[in-house]
Subunit: 204 residues, 2 copies
DNA sequence: CGAATACTTGATCCGCATCAAGTGCCGTGG
DNA sequence: CCACGGCACTTGATGCGGATCAAGTATTCG
């Protein structure tokens, strides 16, 4: 039922996709636009962000190389509810909506794959929603740095990005990080954060 | 691409589903159990809830008659991350996992329908996540009573249920409701809440 | 090397959770 | 049909987590 994408489907995706290069901080699409294609991140790191009226950004989802993005709005039939921005320089493949249509008709497994992919993300988001209201900021921050550093160990996560991921502020994250360092859970060198006690962080 | 469910598929679902009766407050499934079927709510109201260590409940999603539920964990391949409970007396149809498999193979449109359904819910959850951290409780409560009363106008939403939906507490919701009443936005009679100014509530 | 960006630290303040001590509805059984 | 028990609601007092503001210092990158 939930088999992986077949090599035949992979080949077909290869043949219709078109590669583009992006620089850090460039947008792939912006909130309220209408989806016209599916994106496949070949290399780099993408953030799905939402900017509030007051200017606060929220980091809703993060995509790493090999992952599709821009799929939620495409399949829900809605306008984008957030913007996709490069957190690093990226290489991104575009797959036109027409081609996606064809692939979905031809490969039912592709739809099942996407269904599983989104189902997992819905679970993550609902779990996250509970954490925001139940856990104190130090717990949310600890979870966040473990999650983010394992998702993209090579990325230099800033205090602001961590805050945007766990619904806090950069000032508060700085204070929390220094508390975690005093507890011996992490080590800060330069702007880098090193995790010393992963298990400890997760059960603060 | 995103067509509705065909009458042929509907008939087939009819032929394999098995109806069950439930009373208010009964659970259909509980957190951490393994999904074995898909549920279709024929009549009543279902809440997807998560109970924290401290006993606080969170109302993640609400299903009304005609909607499928129990699908997220089924398709993500995970254990249930929340429990389904009857908010009212319910009539529920069970569709066995085996039959779902068959239906998905036979009707690709069914998978596409489910993909759209979950994509919309992921959007709702991410929007909700932002609201929790950005909006004050009076705005969240105002949104919540509009949403809940339109979703199920006949249901007697309690202060606690409203709180569980918008990440607050029943005490706070009571105070907020009396403030909204003073503003002339709503009217409380008995335990019922009447919306007097829908637009006003949404843009507080 | 210089400028921009990222980080740091302390002071202040406020929203809302929590606690406590009630009152009022409402359905149930006698 | 009414009384009673329980659940839902109400109101005020209190405390604290963390946002916000301000005024710096440190890194990094072109």
């Amino acid at each position: 039922m939930f088999k992986k994408i077949s090599s035949q489907l992979k080949d077909e995706i290869e043949s219709v996709k078109i590669k583009h290069q992006y620089k850090k901080k460039q947008f792939i699409y912006k909130v309220s636009e209408s989806p016209t294609e599916l994106y496949l991140l070949e290399h780099g790191l993408i953030g799905l962000v939402f900017t509030c009226e007051n200017g606060n950004d929220h980091l809703l989802r993060i995509f790493k190389s090999g992952q599709f993005f821009g799929h939620r709005s495409l399949f829900s039939g809605e306008l984008y509810h957030g913007s996709s921005i490069c957190l690093e320089d990226c290489e991104i493949s575009f797959i036109d909506k027409k081609n996606i249509n064809t692939l979905i008709q031809k490969y039912p497994e592709f739809t099942v794959f996407l269904l599983k992919y989104i189902s997992i993300d819905l679970g993550k988001c609902e779990t996250h929603r509970i954490r925001i209201s139940e856990k104190e900021v130090i717990q949310r921050a600890a979870d966040a740095i473990v999650y983010l550093s394992e998702l993209a160990p090579e990325h230099k996560w800033t205090r602001l990005e961590i805050a945007q991921y766990c619904e806090s502020t950069s000032t508060t994250i700085v204070k929390v990080l220094s508390k975690l360092e005093k507890l011996g859970m992490i080590k800060q060198s330069g702007h880098r954060i090193l995790i010393l006690n992963r298990e400890g962080l997760l059960k603060i």
